[in-house]
């Protein structure tokens, strides 16, 4: 197309430009409806006044944000103190998502490496196998996991039968269960980008490193990892971001004690007890946090690249 535009003179270029505008229109409309509109709606709702049985009253208010950050006592007339409840939930979400991301990386990287080093016609088969569990609905998979992990579940039965433990391990309703659930939900998002990066990797580089007296571990650290870093980075973001806002795994596997931000938001829109402006405000804060983390890590990545690994 570019060649045609160059050789065909200005008439062709103009036609091409016009065509491009029209051809891109569906994409812009889709983006506007599915991304821009919801975010704007959420932003507006977060500044409205709550209606007690759900919904909003169209009156400007900062109450939602105020409630998130400040505690003004039962009747709202005490001096403002920092409200730790929601900040704690946020903090927990960050580190739960971080732990899940780390777990996915530790398991996902060798998996991706394994697939990328199979013969060319076996690779699609392995990728296909990785995706099979994801044909089943996430809710069903998460509930099944709860059954597998509970005190009288198959996992504890098995471990007790082989004599590894005497009494059941309490896994359900712990942070660990939540991390396990998040890890299981988002593992392919870690595996696939890393797989794509390792597949493009020039394995002669590993040979060159070994030839120059590097051990396997050093080769991994100094040659392979820097080369596939963009894939690792993409995988981490793709697991971390949805983990932050996830509510299924924390709800079903974590119980009330291990409440995460996703559940908090979900609560605000459920039944009559909700608080729509507060839910919208929490969503906006989550969105802002994620954007800040992304911007920060992207900048770090760019800086590391510039410094030359």
């Amino acid at each position: 197309m570019a060649a045609g535009a160059a050789s065909g003179g200005s008439a062709t270029t103009d036609t091409y430009k016009e065509a491009r505008t029209w051809l891109l229109l569906p994409a812009w409309v889709t983006l506007a409806i599915l991304v821009l509109a919801p975010v704007i709606m959420m932003l507006i709702y977060s500044f409205l006044t709550k209606e007690f049985r759900g919904g909003v009253i169209w009156e400007f208010s900062l109450a939602a944000y105020d409630q998130f950050f400040f505690d003004r006592g039962l009747f709202g007339d005490d001096p403002a103190k920092i409200e730790w409840t929601y900040i704690t939930i946020f903090w927990r979400s960050i580190w739960q998502a971080g732990a899940a991301t780390l777990l996915s990386l530790v398991i996902g990287f060798p998996t991706a490496y394994f697939i990328a080093t199979r013969s060319e016609n076996m690779r699609p088969v392995w990728v296909f196998l990785i995706t099979i569990p994801y044909w089943v609905n996430l809710l069903i998979r998460t509930v099944s996991m709860k059954f597998l992990l509970r005190d009288q579940g198959p996992l504890n039965d098995f471990l007790m039968n082989i004599g590894l433990i005497d009494s059941p391990l309490h896994i359900v309703n712990t942070n660990f269960a939540v991390q396990l659930g998040l890890f299981y939900s988002y593992l392919p998002f870690m595996v696939l980008p890393i797989y794509a990066a390792v597949e493009r990797y020039n394995f002669a580089l590993s040979e060159a490193a070994a030839d120059l007296y590097a051990s396997k571990w050093t080769t991994l650290r100094r040659v392979l990892l820097p080369a596939v870093k963009p894939g690792v980075f993409a995988g981490c973001i793709l697991v971390f971001v949805p983990s932050m806002g996830s509510f299924l795994a924390p709800d079903l596997l974590g119980g009330a004690k291990n409440f995460m931000i996703g559940s908090l938001i979900e609560e605000q829109f459920k039944g009559n007890a909700g608080n729509w402006p507060f839910g919208a405000a929490a969503s906006m804060i989550l969105l802002t946090m994620v954007l800040i983390i992304l911007m920060f890590s992207t900048r770090q990545q760019a800086k590391a690249d510039k410094a030359g690994g």
Binding site: N202, A204, L205, E207, A208, A209, A210, D211, L212, Y213, A214, S215, T218, R222, V223, P226, A227, G308, G309
Partner: protein, 363 residues
Amino acid sequence: MSDKENIAIDVRDAVKRYGDFTALKTISLSIMDNEFFTLLGPSGCGKTTLLRMIAGFEAVTEGAIYLYGDEIENLPPNKRPVNTVFQNYALFPHMTILDNVAFGLEMRGKSKSEARKKAAEMLELVQLSQFSARKPSQLSGGQQQRVALARALAPQPKVLLLDEPLSALDLKLRKAMQLELKHLQRETGITFIFVTHDQEEALTMSDRIAVMSAGEMQQLGSPTDIYERPHNMFVADFIGETNLLEVSVDGITSGRATCHLGGGHELTCNAVEGVDVGSKVHMSIRPERLYMSDAPLETESLKGRVKENIFVGTDITTIVDLQDGPDFVVRTSNSDRGNKRIFEPGTEMFVNMELGAGRLLVD
């Protein structure tokens, strides 16, 4: 000097099999200390496999490999004091040129500053000092090639392995690098094992050449040996251009073999071990060993007719139709045109050769 000091790489009955496929059939060869040794052959002949076995990237199915007397075939590549220049250089893309060259030194236990200092010296040797802070992608092919060379030489390997390192360069650069490599080998005194499919490259640079085909070694010898005295059809045909004639050996007396070829032509040449009276074999005659005249000379002369003259710059190739015999290719150097005659197409003339020019081949 004992063998331990004298022989750099000793390959003993090495075999490489991939499942049912045999890539290398029982190869034995000794590469001497301080030698520029070339493995030459067409693609798929097993030359790269043998090099990779010496480097440690391929396991040896059977047999043994010794490096200055030490058995190494079971050591991983990072435990073998040999370094490789890879075909596409395999420079670390995320490291600077300096860090690429320093890598091997650092891995051998040098401190970072010491390694960098030594690497800078190596870059000076290959005249790339001004590029030390750049990344490999910012260098041209020829420069990358020299970085790869500096990187492999920096840890002072006992043997340097070069896997078709010049194949990605254009002709002019390749010629320059051939000489540079040869000089570098003489200066450093390191044994070089060079893999190539380019016979001219092999002849230019090597002390000795092993010609390989279909997983077997066809001939081992100096460039002159291989060019002047090819052992069999494959070597004669693969190295340089040649006239291959089917001949019958009529008699052998005092080291001379009398042969005849189609059309009743007779030729005498040196006898070769393994070719007996009565056998039908091939004879190889290099085109530049032939010359033309309008009357038969006292040497071996064959009557023929000029079919075509082809001008190829440095010389002129004449295709001669031998009556009732095969076509002959005669090459006359452009600088020889004063002494040697060129005939117009269609002219009848005689093709002459010295007694030793024809070489009988073991099939």
